[in-house]
């Protein structure tokens, strides 16, 4: 058990920033992102610890859990999920910290808002490949697509993002 805990501790350190960011882009709230991130790791730790279900790819498992929790969150709250540019602007959180407030006026905030306005697949492919540095085969695996289809998706996602920024 101590060994499992030690291994999971390393997994936590490695993925905490990525999973938090992944969730944050989808919920646009520090507080909600924190809740869902901790729930993601707690659920994964429980599965990992009990060994009931073999986790073949911990990274894929974490992203899948995080994604499901985000979906559940919007479903429970009856909120429209921000998956498409057509659905309007992302919700801004009134409790954002100073750092986040400062970003509102920066390039980063423009990109963030534009990214939040993209469809879920476009968002994910950009986050995983350009932010988390995952190679195309791994992104393809996470998306359940072929590598070729993933490349095409990535290219279209970048075009959509550029279009969204230009329309600001």
């Amino acid at each position: 058990m101590a060994n499992l805990r030690k291994i999971f501790s390393k997994i936590y350190d490695r993925y905490i920033n990525k999973i938090y960011r992944f969730i944050f882009f989808k919920v646009n709230s520090q507080e909600i992102a924190q809740d869902l991130t901790s729930e993601t790791f707690l659920k994964t730790w429980e599965t990992y610890r009990n060994g009931n279900q073999e986790i073949e790819n911990i990274q894929a498992y974490l992203y899948k859990t995080a994604r499901n929790l985000v979906i559940d969150f919007y479903r429970e709250k009856g909120k429209a999920k921000i998956v498409s540019a057509d659905l309007g602007r992302p919700i801004s959180d009134p409790r954002q910290n100073l750092e986040e407030k400062a970003m509102l006026t920066s390039d980063v905030n423009i990109i963030r808002k534009a990214l939040a306005g993209l469809s879920e697949d476009y968002q994910n492919v950009i986050i995983w490949h350009y932010l988390d540095d995952l190679p195309i085969p791994e992104v393809a695996n996470l998306l359940g697509r072929t590598e070729e289809a993933t490349r095409v998706l990535l290219s279209r996602a970048l075009q959509a993002l550029r279009a969204s920024i230009n329309s600001e």
Partner: protein
Amino acid sequence: MTENELIGKIRKLRQIKPRKDWVVLTKSQILGEEKMDVSLFPFFKPVYAGLFLFLILIGLLEFSFAALPGELLFPLKRIVEKTQAIFVSEEEKPKMNLELANKRLEELNQIAEKNEVKKLAPAMNEVQASISETAKNLVKSKKIDRETIEKSLELAKNKEKAEKSLGINIGSEETEESLNDFYKTQAEYLIGDFKNRTLTDEGKIALENAEKEFEAGNYLEALTILILSQP
């Protein structure tokens, strides 16, 4: 904006990170027992706890070897000695008893030298019990060899030293009598044995001296002369 410029801007989003204190707190909440279990208190692991207790016990035993009667660790020292006695054969028991009696007398002498009055009574009791046990086992064994004689002589010297420094007799009359009877019987037997042998000049002198000591009632001395004269 070129594609590279756009990708560069996307990468700036890496600035978005959770607060460090929240990261640490959440980790400790999820993997709560980790610190207790591994990092800070390794002694809580059963294997370490066992080792830790074993080391404490070894340490206590080490200290107990130097303990004197009337001290806290002395009973532990006695337990160790009694445990060792279980593994000693009946034949070797008198020698071990003599060793222990000598040890008790040395302890009594140490206490007398340091003038530790409070420890005198328990030390005396230990000496008397030990000498009595030695006498009982020597009589029971009915055998005597060079080593036993050497240890018996040492016991007599230590006893004399303690009696001088304390100004009292150590050991009950009964014990003294049984020891004396034992030495007498053994000396008598050896004198008879020497007389039936063809002796060298040295052997003859030893027999003569032993007989003199025997007649004077010094049975241990007589026994000593005869035993030590043998190759």
